[in-house]
């Protein structure tokens, strides 16, 4: 009961820290001309640790906070993060595990999917985001996501509590 009371505060702290880290540091560390996306890593980790429900909720909240400080059309990051958070949660739930290298692979794929989604939806609503930039951006976002997702999963466990091993997993051990 005591832990649950602190979940919103911890979640807000994590979201604020991710946004600040993104705009003060990561946005200046270029890989192949593009930058990673720490805020997206938090969304992906939320989907991995909490399923589609938590993934979409974090996607919405992180996207809303991020949209306030960037110059892309307001709401575009909210929508794409929410969809990626939901998709990550669904994929993780379908695969029935969060251990091993799976989160790394999921985060890498999520980075690529998010880049494609952001560019595609952006163009759909009238912003001429150049598709030529998609490969380098997808590479940077995917690589940074894959590198940071495991620490991010632990941060999300700190926020929400680590799940107990389920009966099936205990039987398999």
């Amino acid at each position: 009961m005591g832990r649950r009371r602190w979940v919103p505060a911890r979640a807000a702290l994590v979201v604020a820290a991710a946004i600040l880290l993104q705009i003060t540091l990561v946005s200046d560390l270029r890989i192949a001309g593009a930058v990673g996306d720490v805020a997206l890593v938090v969304v992906v980790a939320a989907g991995i640790t909490g399923g589609p429900d938590r993934g979409v909720a974090y996607g919405f909240a992180v996207g809303l906070a991020f949209d306030l400080v960037v110059d892309s059309p307001f709401g575009l990051t909210v929508l794409t993060y929410a969809l990626v958070g939901y998709g990550t949660g669904l994929a993780s739930a379908a695969l029935q595990r969060t251990g091993g290298w799976l989160p790394v692979a999921v985060a890498g794929v999520a980075g690529v999917v998010h880049t494609a989604l952001f560019t595609g939806l952006g163009n759909l609503v009238g912003v001429d985001y150049p598709f030529a930039e998609v490969p380098s951006v997808a590479l940077a976002v995917g690589v940074v996501g894959a590198v940071l997702v495991l620490p991010a999963v632990h941060v999300l466990w700190w926020v929400h509590g680590a799940p107990e091993p389920d009966r099936l997993e205990l039987m398999l051990r």
């Binding site: 400080v69 059309p73 307001f74 609503v125």
Partner: protein
């Protein structure tokens, strides 16, 4: 480690996705509440960003120490600035010659240099992928307002997109949403230039006949036509390539911007307002 099972709250998911779509619709219409929220966020985040930035500076410096050759970069900056200054002077001269030839000496044209100016330091670059905005350390307290043109010695950089009391965000001309009315410095032919992203030339949709030859290197300046968002005669770039536009009825020009928006340290805001 096992996954905690999804709660299956499809309604919640649907509501959040619908809310996201609604926010996007509001954002696209640029409703005042969105602008106010972003200004409020900038007032909160900008000072914090400055403080956190001083903490993260060593990491950033270490990264650039690994990825950049500092001396080559400094040399590049110096040469680029010198070259931009030369190009800018040449374009300004050819534009003035054209005006002198075409117009009587009594015709008075507004000139960007007459506008009061505010010099500002660039404090941060784009905050995310596909972003083309920079932050400067001067705001409304220094007389800066949304819509004001931003230049360097090289030429046009962009326009103030958002301003708080002590900072402002500048939409730079590589942004795909950026539009500026331009004309060729040699002939005065009009067009509209738009950004195409990082390290890409501007594309100018012109009214020039496809049979007309426009030499590479021809200067392009802001048109300053009636109700233009920019004063006339501000150097924008030089023609890098030409081709037939969609439909083949007019020329489309690639224009290499004079100002290198990736290498800015200081910019000048012209306190000029559209008439």
């Amino acid at each position: 480690m096992a996954l905690s099972p999804p709660s299956g709250s499809r309604t919640r998911v649907a509501v959040l996705v619908l809310a996201s779509v609604t926010l996007l619709a509001m954002g696209l219409r640029d409703v005042p509440v969105v602008r106010d929220a972003r200004s409020a966020a900038a007032r909160v985040v900008d000072p914090v960003e400055g403080v956190v930035g001083t903490v993260t500076d060593p990491v950033r410096d270490a990264w650039h120490g690994v990825t950049d050759y500092d001396e080559v970069r400094r040399e590049n900056d110096r040469l680029r600035e010198r070259l931009a200054g030369v190009d800018s002077a040449r374009i300004a001269r050819s534009d003035a010659e054209r005006q002198l030839a075409e117009l009587s000496a009594s015709l008075e044209l507004p000139f960007a240099g007459d506008s009061p100016q505010v010099t500002a330091r660039v404090v941060s670059g784009p905050r995310s992928n596909f972003s083309h905005a920079i932050e400067i350390d001067k705001g409304t307290d220094d007389g800066i307002a949304v819509g004001m043109p931003v230049v360097t010695g090289g030429g046009l950089v962009g326009r103030v997109d958002q301003a708080t009391a002590d900072s402002a965000r500048v939409e730079v001309l590589s942004d795909p949403e950026f539009r500026v009315g331009v004309r060729l410095a040699t002939t005065g032919a009009l067009g509209t230039a738009r950004g195409q992203g990082d390290d890409e030339p501007l594309v100018v949709d012109s009214s020039i006949s496809p049979s007309t030859k426009v030499p590479r290197g021809t200067g392009v300046v802001t048109s300053g036509v009636d109700r233009s968002a920019f004063p006339p005669g501000v150097p924008v770039g030089t023609v890098a390539a030409t081709r037939k536009g969609p439909g083949g009825l007019a020329l489309e020009l690639d224009v290499q911007p004079l100002a290198d928006v990736d290498q800015l340290s200081y910019v000048t805001v012209l306190q000029w307002r559209a008439g």
